[in-house]
Amino acid sequence: MFDLEMTEDQKLIHDTVASFAKGEIRPIARDCDESGEIPAGLAEKGFELGLVHSAIPEEQGGFGETRSAVTGAIVAEELGWGDLAIALHLLTPRLLVYPLLEAGTPPQIAQVLPPFALGHQVATAAVVEPRFDFDTTRFTTTAAAKDGGFVLNGAKCFVPLADESQTILVVAQLGDEPAAFLVPRRANGVVIGEREKNMGVKALATYEVGLENVVVPASARIGDAAAIARILNRSRIALGALALGMGRAAFDYARDYAKERKAFGVAIAQKQAIAFILAEMAIEIDASRLLLWEAAWMLDQGKEATRECVLAKRYASNACLKITDNAVQVLGGHGYVRDHPVELWLRNARGFTSFEGMAIV
């Protein structure tokens, strides 16, 4: 039966993460963007909230809670409201943990996951490739079967925390289909490049990663092409929900500003030119959330949902770009200076068309 009410559990998770985003993330977001660094202790605090280990099975030391894409979208929205770079930083362990839960074999899970249940561990995934025609249906990074294992070759970019990670989940083309592999950071042929300099999410350390004849055993392969399709769909929900949260942040800020700022004797929000921009933001935020929840719900039901996930992510990321752009516009010159956060949100928002492979819900 059609229903849009969160469960009591979801409400609790929502409230906890929302207050963490408000109390711990938002206050440091600007400093992190300027310095390019996130305080070391924050990821531990995130871990204590259960962001990573709640979904790890009890046998591996986690709470064994059912992983739900809808709940994941709720969490990502709130963290995205706090700050996109910090949200991605806190959730990077999921880049390895969640695909393993989605498609890993029991031995792979038993081998890799237990440390992630004990405390904050850095891990990452290498999906995006540095080319304009990057295509998640055909990767240029290749995997070739050799001597009972695989040899990986190619270049990846926008790999978060690659330098600090012990293990990198690498997605590569294996013949006609994409495949995922667990690659140790220290394996021969893994070349971590300089830290990337991006337009936005500057607090998040991302790297180019080169793979030069990297040899991995057969047991390093995670799932099949169908599993990767599911992982990519989860990534779409995650990125869409982060965009939604950031768009909501920009809307909140622009709305409050427009009620304070006076022009021609009244608050600028009392002028239709501004009020209608804000009304459209509100509608598009709700529309994005409903599309994302519906697509996430389909994933939770085990339904094929590629179309819905693609459309929801496109919709939410386009809406986010328009909302953050309009938020800068509502603030005018004040929106362009770095004293206010809206310029940061606009810089971040442009990234969603480039980001893929963030399967953190």
């Binding site: 059609f2 998640t136 919709y315």
Partner: protein
């Protein structure tokens, strides 16, 4: 629990109504678009038999009571049904005999006795129509500026004024034993507070249809201009209290009707949009063009981008509409959400149908196909029951916490 599955009851009735759309509406769709002002009598008789007694809209008290006793879904069910009927044909859907928007007003603002008196006749006998008359030649969105007057004279209210753009007005006022809900002021000096709604039974002396509009679309539905000249109705035909309250309360009550009806109009928009989108998708697939959802950005064609954009716009409008209806079913106030849904759906269906015509090129423009008709039909959803802009204004006021004085 967050759940997007429609109940079995809704799915079943949707299937039935879809057949009505496919078998009874589509075959006569073009004919009654071309023969404007003629009525598909046989179709209307059939629909009257199929649906007699059912009203669209919501009984607030019943919703509140029901919400306390368990989940209810009559508003959501109405939205799904209306989408399906409008998928068949929006003009024909609007012409179906039922209490219509007048009925929604009675349900939203009437007493139990009034609901019984005005709506029970719709359960049997000959087909009947209800209608709502708000707009006047000089005022549309600014309904507080209306000039039709209601003056108390002994045991009667006496109505004087001119109403335009009254959907099914001809059928409700003169061609059946239905009724017209008329908005009028009892005290011009009181502004909004003086505005009340009145039920005028069909054939009441002094009520006269003087024009039926020629329109761009929804031609199967009659849109009437009605003049009231010393039109006398009983005292107890006023909906809500006759007292002119200070402040905005009375007007707010009248406006609450729209919280119930806007999702229904949005649902109709969805049906037209889906008709156009499905048709375009099938036509493109027959021509060998398939929309590739997971394809790389750099390889998407302009057509694929446009298609995905209108498809997700329409689905967004649908979910906003269902949310507004679901909130009513749960007894939650939905003034903001109803306007969000209406603003989004009106715009979405306008763009969806215009794009679909574009996709099909010269075929889309031809009257051989229904696509051009759907584009003409669609535009009304961006206008009636509150234009896109008036709904944006309501959304803006609500999110900013402004009164109509603070943001006009």
């Amino acid at each position: 629990m967050i759940d997007f599955e429609l109940s079995e009851n809704i799915v079943k009735s949707r299937e039935m109504i879809h057949m009505v759309g496919e078998q009874l509406m589509r075959p006569i769709s073009r004919e009654y678009d071309e023969r404007e002002h003629e009525k598909p009598t046989e179709f209307l008789e059939t629909m009257w038999k199929l649906s007699a007694g059912s009203s669209f809209g919501s009984d607030r008290e019943a919703d509140k009571k029901a919400a306390a006793s368990g989940p209810r879904e009559s508003n959501l069910a109405s939205c799904v049904s209306i989408e399906e009927l409008s998928w068949g044909d929006a003009g024909l859907y609007l012409s179906i005999p039922n209490p219509g928007l007048g009925g929604a007003a009675v349900l939203a603002a009437g007493t139990a006795e009034q609901k019984q008196r005005f709506l029970a006749p719709f359960k049997d006998g000959a087909p009947k129509w209800g209608a709502m008359a708000i707009t006047e030649p000089h005022c549309g969105s600014d309904s507080a500026a209306l000039q039709t007057t209601a003056v108390r004279d002994g045991d009667d209210w006496v109505l004087n004024g001119t109403k335009i753009y009254c959907t099914s007005g001809l059928m409700a006022a003169e061609k059946s034993d239905g009724f017209v809900v008329v908005w009028a002021t009892v005290d011009k000096s009181a502004g909004r507070a003086g505005i009340k709604s009145f039920v005028v039974a069909a054939h009441t002396p002094g009520m006269k249809v003087i024009k039926v509009e020629n329109k761009m679309g929804i031609r199967a539905s009659d849109t009437a201009m009605i003049v009231f000249e010393d039109c006398r109705i009983p005292l107890d035909n006023i909906l809500g209290s006759a007292e002119v309250q200070t402040g905005n309360e009375g007007f707010k009550g009248a406006m609450a009707t729209f919280d119930a009806t806007r999702p229904l109009v949005a649902a109709s928009a969805l049906g037209i949009g889906r008709a156009a989108l499905d048709f375009a998708r099938e036509a493109l697939e027959r021509a060998g063009v398939k929309i590739r959802y997971g394809a790389a950005q750099s390889t998407l064609t302009a057509l694929e981008r446009d298609f995905m954009e209108i498809e997700s716009d329409l689905q967004a409008a649908r979910l906003l509409t269902w949310r507004a209806a679901w909130m009513m079913d749960r007894g939650k106030r939905n003034n903001l959400e109803a306007s969000m849904a209406k603003a989004k759906a009106g715009l979405a269906v306008t763009r969806v149908t215009q794009k679909a015509v574009e996709f099909l090129g010269p075929l889309g423009y031809s009257r051989k196909l229904l696509l051009e008709k759907w584009m003409r039909d669609a535009k009304i959803n961006d206008i009636f029951e509150g234009t896109q802009q008036i709904n944006m204004l309501i959304v803006a006021r609500r999110i900013l916490g402004y009164s109509s004085k603070e943001l006009s």
